[in-house]
Symmetry: C2
Subunit: 361 residues, 2 copies
Amino acid sequence: MPRRIASGDGKPRPATIKDVARHAGVSVATVSRILSGTYPNAPATRSKVMRAVRELDYVANAHARGLAGVRPKSVAIVVNSVISPHYAHVAQGVHEEAARAGRLCIVGTTGGDLERELAAIQLMREEHAEAVILVGNINPDEAYRERMAGYARALAAAGSQLVLCGRPPLGPDVPAIVVEYDNTGGAFAATSHLLSAGHKRILFLGRRSGYTTPESRVAGYRAALAAHGVPHDPGLEVDGARMVRREGYRMMRERLDAGPRDFTAVFASNDLIAAGAREALRERGLRIPEDVSMVGFDDLPPAADIDLTTVYIPHEELGRTAVRLALKSETPGASEHVLLGTHIVVRDSVCPNVGEASGPD
Amino acid sequence: MPRRIASGDGKPRPATIKDVARHAGVSVATVSRILSGTYPNAPATRSKVMRAVRELDYVANAHARGLAGVRPKSVAIVVNSVISPHYAHVAQGVHEEAARAGRLCIVGTTGGDLERELAAIQLMREEHAEAVILVGNINPDEAYRERMAGYARALAAAGSQLVLCGRPPLGPDVPAIVVEYDNTGGAFAATSHLLSAGHKRILFLGRRSGYTTPESRVAGYRAALAAHGVPHDPGLEVDGARMVRREGYRMMRERLDAGPRDFTAVFASNDLIAAGAREALRERGLRIPEDVSMVGFDDLPPAADIDLTTVYIPHEELGRTAVRLALKSETPGASEHVLLGTHIVVRDSVCPNVGEASGPD
DNA sequence: AGCGCATGTTGAACCGTTTACACAGGGCGC
DNA sequence: GCGCCCTGTGTAAACGGTTCAACATGCGCT
């Protein structure tokens, strides 16, 4: 039967620690200590207080507690969008680990806009979250680096740990924990998989100059070609705008419209691109893997549905690691760099090359 | 060049409003008023203060502000999981509308566990969020209703608006805004679509007794059968445990293993179930829509990939509406009930029935 | 008995804001 | 020239917790 304290005008008002103290016949200090559980206390007092808490349905005011110097038990995460599967999975990992540690999550979305990201960080700074986790791909020019470094230092000064998740470090003198995954290695493995099946003309779908994630994947692609002694044709690298399904469709469609097919395999920079490209191929009557081999990246839901060989990245583990490292470091200015592994997941989207499209020569 | 105030031991400490006041040569009240922007102030003072704010890189302490009686600009949302597409889309709507209104989002996840949901609400109560939005399916027994009603009243007393999103009202005397979507109507339309194509033996895949969402969908299914004068065979309703893909696979697989096929069409209680069932059918060499017609529910990503006719529900609109209504109501104890429409999305998963499987008679 | 010590409890200061109230000074009507 | 209002600013009291230093109390020891 939760009772509530009546103020002057009879409106219910949430009980405060003072109400509990009065109700239990002890001081506020005693109530505070018993509730925090970190000080010795007499069992009799303890049960009196707990009864008062129950009867008044008391919950502590997080603002008062935060103001009194107790770091709020919260973790902030800033993502591009909560719909995008990669971000959602990372966020899931963050939530899991945060829940395990009794923290709640503050989530900000940016829609990919840098200004909104910075604004979100500012808000998180006001909230004094224990950790601020920035996740995802970014286009790091010099101005960005400069401003972000300023924000990083401000967060450290405010006692919040900054974590960059799937994003390169800001610099040696900027305090931040960095949790990345191996884009280049994954792309190397994926490309090698196609090369081993005899493919030499491999379309790279979804290059995006200036953005770190697609660039690392291009780098792995090129490295694999070089390692296998296959000549690199820049004409096989197709630029994309946004890394979404319809963009994959558009790129493949335009490629097929532009002239005779000059590739036997496709390495899509992510699974959504792959799904879109697959649709464009199907419209031309080209089947995967019989006519065209394809490998994706991310191992997200569409991949299993369309039997796509792809590169698994530990989405949730990224989020979990971010939280774990952030909460572990008691000094908020910590710097650390972790690289999580990726590995190829083989499904049914690659066939041995029978050598039809051999390139423009 | 953000400067930071040095405390005794030389460690940087975030600037407070006092530092700003001292730096600008005015009182803290003046700084507060100028920053809040709601009081008259002299331009000269204003620019002095703004300069000090910039130079010290001052951001207000959200805890102090909250304690001083200003309702924090935040909205809390409690979901089952942030990966699940439906929840993610609702959350996206919440984020959008919250961002538009300058609010940040606190997100709690429950994993479908009622205790964790209640614990999350308790945390949100401590945080004094403007609104607490509970989203999703639930199994409402009497004990649940009782406890949740208590929490609802506590939230109202603390000045937070409770919103139930895609979940039935708690009762006439419990303060909450309810935003639902038309499950029954959508299921009626989906079933009617199959009936109109001549199907009479329609398998309902994914009944889950006690849970509100699947139950409303079953209700729509039965109503459509009745409206078309088609006899209702309870044996065609298959129970499911969790509403996920593998469960859809399992249900269909067991059904096919159990004996000769006694249905010509399937109404899956959501798209994931549909995708799983489709896989089981494919393993038996049964194609959609040539051999079996199928309709899903939700219109989430897998649906488009597998050309599934399904029922669209306004996921994001649910979230947006929840936030909009919650912020609109100035009195936190408001009650309201909104029902958003659903509609069928026709793709390529239904064929006219040629009348092979006619049932057990 | 007097002492030190461990154990529990209390009063009060403090955290950083907002805001009610007081007040200073200038312009204006009388 | 006096009182009045208006504008802008300052002073100080909340807000609801935590925690430090101080203080009772009971106990075993010398």
